[in-house]
Symmetry: D2
Subunit: 373 residues, 4 copies
Amino acid sequence: MRNPLITIILCLGLLPTNAQTHSHAGAQPLTYPNIAGYVTLKTDLHQHSVFSDGHVWPTIRVQEALRENLDAISLTEHLEYQPHKEDIPHPDRNRAYHLAVEEAVEHDLLIVPGSEITRSAPIGHSNAVFITDANELVHEDAKDAFATAKKQGAFVFWNHPAWFEQSPSGNPILSDFQQQLIKSGQMQGIEVINSVDYAEESLALALANNLTIMGTSDIHGLIDWDYTEKGNHRPITLVFAKEKSLPSLKEALFAGRTVAVYNDLLVGKAEFLKPLLQASIHVLKASYLPNTQVLQIELKNSTSSDLMFENAMDYTFYDISPVFVIPAGESKIVHIKTLEILGSFDLKLKALGAYTEPKVHPIIEWNVKIDRP
Amino acid sequence: MRNPLITIILCLGLLPTNAQTHSHAGAQPLTYPNIAGYVTLKTDLHQHSVFSDGHVWPTIRVQEALRENLDAISLTEHLEYQPHKEDIPHPDRNRAYHLAVEEAVEHDLLIVPGSEITRSAPIGHSNAVFITDANELVHEDAKDAFATAKKQGAFVFWNHPAWFEQSPSGNPILSDFQQQLIKSGQMQGIEVINSVDYAEESLALALANNLTIMGTSDIHGLIDWDYTEKGNHRPITLVFAKEKSLPSLKEALFAGRTVAVYNDLLVGKAEFLKPLLQASIHVLKASYLPNTQVLQIELKNSTSSDLMFENAMDYTFYDISPVFVIPAGESKIVHIKTLEILGSFDLKLKALGAYTEPKVHPIIEWNVKIDRP
Amino acid sequence: MRNPLITIILCLGLLPTNAQTHSHAGAQPLTYPNIAGYVTLKTDLHQHSVFSDGHVWPTIRVQEALRENLDAISLTEHLEYQPHKEDIPHPDRNRAYHLAVEEAVEHDLLIVPGSEITRSAPIGHSNAVFITDANELVHEDAKDAFATAKKQGAFVFWNHPAWFEQSPSGNPILSDFQQQLIKSGQMQGIEVINSVDYAEESLALALANNLTIMGTSDIHGLIDWDYTEKGNHRPITLVFAKEKSLPSLKEALFAGRTVAVYNDLLVGKAEFLKPLLQASIHVLKASYLPNTQVLQIELKNSTSSDLMFENAMDYTFYDISPVFVIPAGESKIVHIKTLEILGSFDLKLKALGAYTEPKVHPIIEWNVKIDRP
Amino acid sequence: MRNPLITIILCLGLLPTNAQTHSHAGAQPLTYPNIAGYVTLKTDLHQHSVFSDGHVWPTIRVQEALRENLDAISLTEHLEYQPHKEDIPHPDRNRAYHLAVEEAVEHDLLIVPGSEITRSAPIGHSNAVFITDANELVHEDAKDAFATAKKQGAFVFWNHPAWFEQSPSGNPILSDFQQQLIKSGQMQGIEVINSVDYAEESLALALANNLTIMGTSDIHGLIDWDYTEKGNHRPITLVFAKEKSLPSLKEALFAGRTVAVYNDLLVGKAEFLKPLLQASIHVLKASYLPNTQVLQIELKNSTSSDLMFENAMDYTFYDISPVFVIPAGESKIVHIKTLEILGSFDLKLKALGAYTEPKVHPIIEWNVKIDRP
């Protein structure tokens, strides 16, 4: 008798709604181009549901990810912090993962099993993803938790290293414990962007210790309320994987092939950030204005980030400022004074929204063939 | 050791976010005026959380209500349909209510205890609100559930009477069982608007059986996704109470003092809908254009509904169409040809978005004093 | 030596502008469907340039019309009111027309020669369009002006009959002079909509005297400033012509085949307004919801007006209010309770934004074939 | 008899329009702060009307300026290029100026008399503003035109030096003729921004020759169509004058106290651009996050330009990217890691949208007092 009822109730609200004229768009699909040899996976590997201290059922996390066109997510419930435990006693710490898998079953969204190992400083918070059983990570001694994660083959990254609650100066302090984790191959990544926060020092730590650069939303409430409504996209990690699959994603994370993205800020190692930016701009047209040596080129930004550039050539521009923005998904026409009629040239732009090191913007080059009149 | 951790974690994400320039507004505060003798309470008394078949923790329902400036909500979890029971075994069926009360404790939002008695036709779905203990309503025999609700002093209303899953013609069919409920004082209300659906026949039933007219969201997912994003407000019931308190709200529901509202549609008994509309429009200015008998008046709509009117006077308009809209919260200037210079006059408009009976629009009157030059 | 300079100067500003992200759209192209046997021409036959009391060169009027996708315009300069005469002595009163023709030469926009015969009441203002020489219309005695217009084969219409400056009550008064004009075939049309003003009494006069119903912008400044910025389209006259040509337009005006449109207000004789509305709505899909007698139909509004309807059938709706709007260019899904499974049915809607007589809305019918499951 | 008619006609269209809900905003008022010792005047000293090759009556230029809240404009009609001469024979070349003065009479808008001396290269186009009689500037020999301008006390600036029609490479070439003009005190300014075009080389010429830096719209059509609709503001010259008056404006132009602005691009000599930017940002609040050394400051941009900055301090940010934008008129919260608790500090930001020399961004400093807890 319960079964028909279930069917009935699930049908409620399935009628197409008659929207009023002026709708308020929610989160939009994110898009970033592939780079040579790799597919670019949009991931958010640090999220919470009611199975730790989040406010939604895991299904909502899947729906949010589908709206933003993510490729992979992880519900990394705190192992040690379970404020809803009274209502959700869950003997199985993998439960949020399983519910997400179930919700995503008909969609092309990868669900990564994960957990957050949650301690005060100097141990701090860390995510272990690609674990095989969250239950086994529950230990009194943090060392045992990390050791188990390693045994399970997990990829582990340090969460919000600059968080002022654990480091009142706002500077990340790599503790002896964490150094040991890194040395022993028990920690391979670091969040350089966590929720709305970017720390240059975390980037420096990533580079100095060869850690994988991560960006995550650390969402507890609703993506729409914390990000979309304020005009932001959630932070994500772009992962350059050999294919869209869980093993490939894992391999790429261990290999450090990532760029962290939050809106217009892109942070990554030069070897991945530069080809990403190179692939992000397409030169649609290049030709001289009649009877001039003024070259007109149209640049198309194929990403969901507004990309900010500064002219890095000796050639000057005819019209716009040397510092300019190509809005997400849009094109911009730039006029360049090449002084003589060229058949091709190297467009060089400094990406002001991108960092390969603290305070270092990459310069990107495009070889442009010029149309003959 | 757990306590400091809790504090720490709750602080995450409290930094003011740097919004990008062009934000996407979420749900907006709703506003409707009081009427003579009563405060107008904005209520949504039919909602679900993870404690039955909803997708969010009760805290989200409270936050959603605060965003829309509601005065009262009820989490009416299905008593008999508990798809998350495996994860949330909850021995106490009042749990969602208690969690909502806790979340609302520092806010001026009334939380009404309630449950949904959920059966197939001919019994159908009904909400019992202002119950004292949901656990006692769990019965094999529906009759016992309604009897207990009555014993607890509950206000009971029939949910989505026109729902095609229970009535394939889309027409509400008042079963013998339900007639008996009404006759025996075990059902006092009826949803005339449920989620996106309005049924004239339900209005007719309300009037014929002197049932309280209700409008509810019946939300399971997110208000933003189901309503706001599509340019809609959630359906609500305006309740005209002696004061903003739970006892007053209950008294008003039993007394039938309500108007159901969904966007620009307002449905209620004439004795409440007419004064509501009367109070909804303020005549800001009224004066003659110099050297003419053309009267200029400015009408301000103080509600969150676009109000659609048709001229119901013998006087004609100078400029706009006899059918016109005053958008929510905005003013409109209307010019009326009074043929002679008057000191005051009765503005009469038919409210095309309002129904006091099936197919019947109320005509609203305002006595307007005209400024002397 | 002057010639090269001209070329040079005209090239200034021709570079594509780099727009910032968030542009403020100007006037949008207007669209209304053809009706059986006729093409629907969008016209604005009452406009001014610097050649009488307007503020722009005739070229701007052509550009404005092209932006709104009009089919025909007329620059109806006041013959007797020439405030710029000191600067523009123009011996030829056809000059604005010629300049507009020149500007429109490469576009599919018809330029109608016209003039405004401008007198105080009881003669009032009238437009004569399809004249052959404006110079000949300049006469001390208005009678001579109208007689000449007739001799030239002009179509003549009464401008803003309800204008309070000429009729302080705001009611149009058909003077003896004007009655004589009509009787003698020297006046064939009347503005029912002029700029932002609609007068029911003018519609009554049109019907009583078999005058062609006109709607015009009477623009003196900028269309964007007077209309677009305020969220309005300019008023236009839809003319149902045998083809898009000046002779066909003229023939249709004399035959009275018009509908005046201002935003969502459509005013016309039933024989033209009803087929226009009929053609304005397309039934995209009609099928029953599975296992119900609830018919789902999708209605597409192919016009630039938001169309407001009221259910005029015995069948009731499943979801939306009986009064509803289909926004310009958008679709709306409506669910109808047909009580039994039908193979086809007559959809009947009253058009609340349309008038065929004062206070009379046409009821429009569409025969809908229903898809079999 | 003509007079009453005039009154009547001017009243047409004065009724308040009933705007539809969703208006499309036109040009918005521009605002930039004063700097120490000077009021900042927003000027556009290069515009055209129908009195040379523009498309509007001078009244429209005044109305456009009032909408954008400009302080001063000049209608610089081409002296030698008069395409509407057939229709507007105007014996007086000051006519556009006089009509603008008349339109502006009740407004606080300065009208500067001016003319454009229009020749092919190597003489090029130049504006002479603050002339006393345009008629006297009409000469066969350009030398005589400039000599007369000087005799009249005019401020003269070189228009669009980089214009590819006169310099196909897009690089400004300072001809012998022009060098002579500068040397002899007959040319004092140079357009660094003309319509949508900015040329670094023009800035270099300005600095090398101590010319006043100018930015102008060079508008021929409508400001809304060429700029506003595309999301742009018109280019203007900010002039730092002792007071808002024509003599002060003239004095400031000769003294070179200007910044040219086009949207987010600001170009000027360091001695004026730096104080302008300094005054453009207000530090609204500065206090430490509790129990941290993370300083929270709120920065308010009081200008109509989105201002783009890069952190130029040793201190790093807690949250946002070192490169960030404070949108026009908005505030942004920035968190700075000062490592210890300070009582005050020097905020230093590089202004990426501003240039004091080609490729040189000014660094702006603000001394910030920090609130004690």
